[in-house]
């Protein structure tokens, strides 16, 4: 700026209004406030929780007041929101970290080779593993995804791209209804369906997959629908203008644009069903040995395995409880792996965005 002192006051006001706190000042102010908070809590009888609460509140206040006096109300509000949002994030992380810590600390005890290579056949007390349950979960969840993803995705495409009039309304409505099916009812439904054809004692892996599909399809539809709707209409219109038929527009333009969101949605949906216990208790049951054929007899699955190991631990209970936590840990690891796959898919298949 080469402005002289004779420059009109408006311009000057506009330029010089951006008086700012130095870059690290908010952090320092927050720290000071936090220290004061800890001091206050120490005076009133120290407790970790209270100390943290006081520290955060006073820290935020310090930043807000300082910013307000230096930068004005708008900036101050912005800083306040930043503090609040960050705090909210930190607050949310507390239970999540505690949960992960609990599962890790208890699950690592039995995370050994035997757990992956051995089933529970003939195992009493110590030892044994979840080989049968891991494979059972993979097979049943895989089948569920094979059933649910095409149906769910196609339905979402129908609702967003093709659907008109009453059928679209009906399907949207019914998908909403479906999200409300309690998991145990889905299990009962699948059981009743198969009992009609195979008698009341039937227990098959595929029954579990169908019960889980009833739960998974609406989740896939809802999330895919939400994501497909976000694809800008300009893209579709541009494709039509170039004479591309609608179905190719959907496959080549709409889906690739939305693929990251779709993958997240599907992963979330798989995650939703992979730990589902109640319907599998009814439809798939549990066995101690390995059964890899989802069309023949009972199968073991990780959640059911964990549930029974925890609730019916036998005597002494420690061994079974350790197995249960490890099974839970493996479930989480499985989903983590799935997540990686979903991320890879979205990275490889998504078109580059403009920015």
């Amino acid at each position: 700026m080469t402005a002289t002192r004779s420059a009109p006051p408006e311009t000057r006001g506009l330029v010089e209004q951006s008086r700012r706190l130095p870059r690290l000042a908010p952090l320092g102010l927050f720290g000071l406030g936090a220290l004061a908070g800890v001091a206050v809590s120490a005076l009133t009888g120290f407790s970790v929780v209270l100390a943290v609460v006081y520290a955060v509140v006073l820290g935020t206040l310090a930043v807000y007041v300082a910013s307000r006096s230096v930068e004005g109300t708008r900036k101050a509000l912005d800083r306040l929101v930043t503090c609040v949002v960050t705090t909210a994030f930190a607050v949310a992380m507390v239970p999540l970290v505690s949960l992960v810590w609990t599962v890790l600390s208890r699950g690592l005890r039995r995370l050994d080779g035997e757990f992956f290579t051995s089933s529970m056949l003939g195992v009493v007390g110590e030892g044994g593993g979840a080989y049968h349950a891991i494979l059972g979960t993979l097979i049943i969840t895989g089948l569920t995804a094979v059933i649910s993803v095409p149906i769910g995705l196609l339905t979402a495409i129908y609702v967003v791209e093709y659907g008109t009039g009453r059928l679209k309304k009906a399907i949207t409505f019914l998908v909403d209804v479906m999200t409300g099916i309690p998991s145990i009812v889905a299990g009962l439904f699948a059981f009743a369906l198969f009992a009609i054809f195979f008698g009341p004692g039937v227990r098959l892996g595929i029954m579990g997959a169908i019960a889980l599909s009833v739960l998974m399809i609406p989740v896939v539809v809802r999330s895919s629908e939400e994501v497909l709707k976000l694809v800008p209409n300009e893209l579709r219109e541009a494709a039509y203008a170039l004479g591309v038929p609608k179905w190719r527009t959907i496959i080549k333009v709409v889906i690739p644009t939305a693929i990251a969101g779709l993958a997240t949605g599907v992963t979330l949906a798989v995650a939703r069903v992979i730990g589902e216990t109640a319907p599998l208790l009814i439809t798939v049951g549990i066995i101690n040995g390995t059964n890899l054929d989802p069309f023949d007899g009972r199968m073991a699955t990780l959640p059911v395995f964990a549930y029974y190991q925890l609730t019916q631990p036998g005597f002494p209970p420690e061994f079974a409880i350790d197995r249960a936590w490890t099974a839970a840990l493996i479930l989480i690891i499985l989903v983590m792996a799935l997540n990686v796959v979903a991320r890879l898919i979205s990275r490889f298949f998504a078109p580059k965005t403009g920015r």
């Binding site: 909210a88 999540l96 196609l154 439904f189």
Partner: protein
């Protein structure tokens, strides 16, 4: 926001074979859902019917079906409402933090961590709830009974184990937090860059930009995510069954040992040892849950549709 003029349509005159197949299979999938749902509905109603028509004395508890189900409905709604009230603001804050506040490099990893948490099986949440969360809340309950006892919610007597409705609600909140925040994040990050940059170019602060360009755009997505979360909260079975001490009727007292059970948890707890009419009664309560979730979802739809102008494909 008036970026659309007329709904886009495929070239009318010649419908290609590919189009017909694709449209057909998409419609087919929709109709299949219709059939499955009809199957579930027929099953639920036919199995619940004996309990509806049975004399009141035969229903567990001896006072008829509505007296049996009413506390369960109350408990289900109470737990879900606590969860939603706690989780939604936190989830939106998390989503905003990850999309617009966190350092770019950390953001992806944080999103990943949150996604993972949606995957933890409910049994694990249940055991975490009873092993870690409930004991940690006991001091708070004791304090609340002493200092906030005049509020009916905290009338006490405080539970010595912490397995209360409040604990259950908080645990549900933790469970649905990743679901709501994952979807909110997705939607927030899709907010049109042009709008965002325009806002910033006009001198808006980051919060003003979010308020003007991101939140209105993401609102329907947030509500959709909240509804998915609510669906999970309403239907959550084993975690509640493990954590909640369900031994009382309708009460707003959140911190005592006597709490109403929830429908899904009650089914899970009573089903294995039930026979005959008891099973029908449980399924009738399942039907009630079904109807409640339906009503909630319809409400959500209505809210979302009022803001439908903001979705790209409309």
């Amino acid at each position: 926001m008036t970026l659309t003029t007329a709904p886009p349509e495929a070239p009318r005159p010649k419908r290609r074979v590919g189009d017909r197949i694709f449209a057909g299979s998409a419609t087919g999938a929709g109709i299949l859902i219709l059939l499955v749902l009809a199957g579930v509905a027929v099953f639920l109603i036919s199995e619940a019917w004996p309990a509806v028509t049975a004399p009141a004395g035969d229903i567990p508890g001896g006072d008829g079906l509505s007296a049996y189900i009413a506390p369960l409905i109350f408990g289900t709604l109470l737990a879900a409402v606590i969860a939603l009230v706690v989780a939604t603001p936190l989830a939106v804050a998390i989503a905003l933090y990850i999309t617009y506040y966190a350092p770019r490099r950390l953001a992806a990893a944080m999103g990943y961590v949150i996604d993972l948490l949606a995957a933890i099986p409910s049994v694990v949440y249940g055991f975490w709830g009873i092993a870690a969360l409930a004991p940690a809340l006991v001091p708070f309950y004791v304090w609340a009974e002493d200092n906030l006892g005049f509020i009916p919610l905290f009338a006490g007597p405080a539970s010595p184990t912490g397995r209360t409705m409040f604990t259950a609600g908080l645990m549900l909140a933790v469970m649905i937090l990743p679901i709501i925040s994952a979807i909110s994040r997705e939607v927030f990050s899709q907010a049109p860059a042009l709008h965002r940059e325009a806002a910033l170019a006009l001198g808006a602060t980051r919060w003003e930009m979010i308020k003007m360009a991101v939140l209105p755009y993401g609102k329907s997505g947030v509500i959709g995510g909240a509804m998915l979360g609510l669906g999970r909260a309403l239907g959550e079975t084993l975690a509640i069954a493990i954590v909640l001490s369900a031994s009382g009727g309708i009460t707003f007292n959140l911190i005592s040992t006597s709490n109403p059970s929830t429908i899904a948890a009650n089914i899970a707890l009573q089903f294995p040892e039930s026979t005959g009419l008891d099973v029908n009664t449980l399924i009738a309560s399942g039907l009630a849950l079904f109807v409640i979730t339906l009503a909630v979802n319809m409400l959500a739809r209505w809210v979302v549709n009022r803001r439908a102008d903001f979705s790209g494909a409309n």
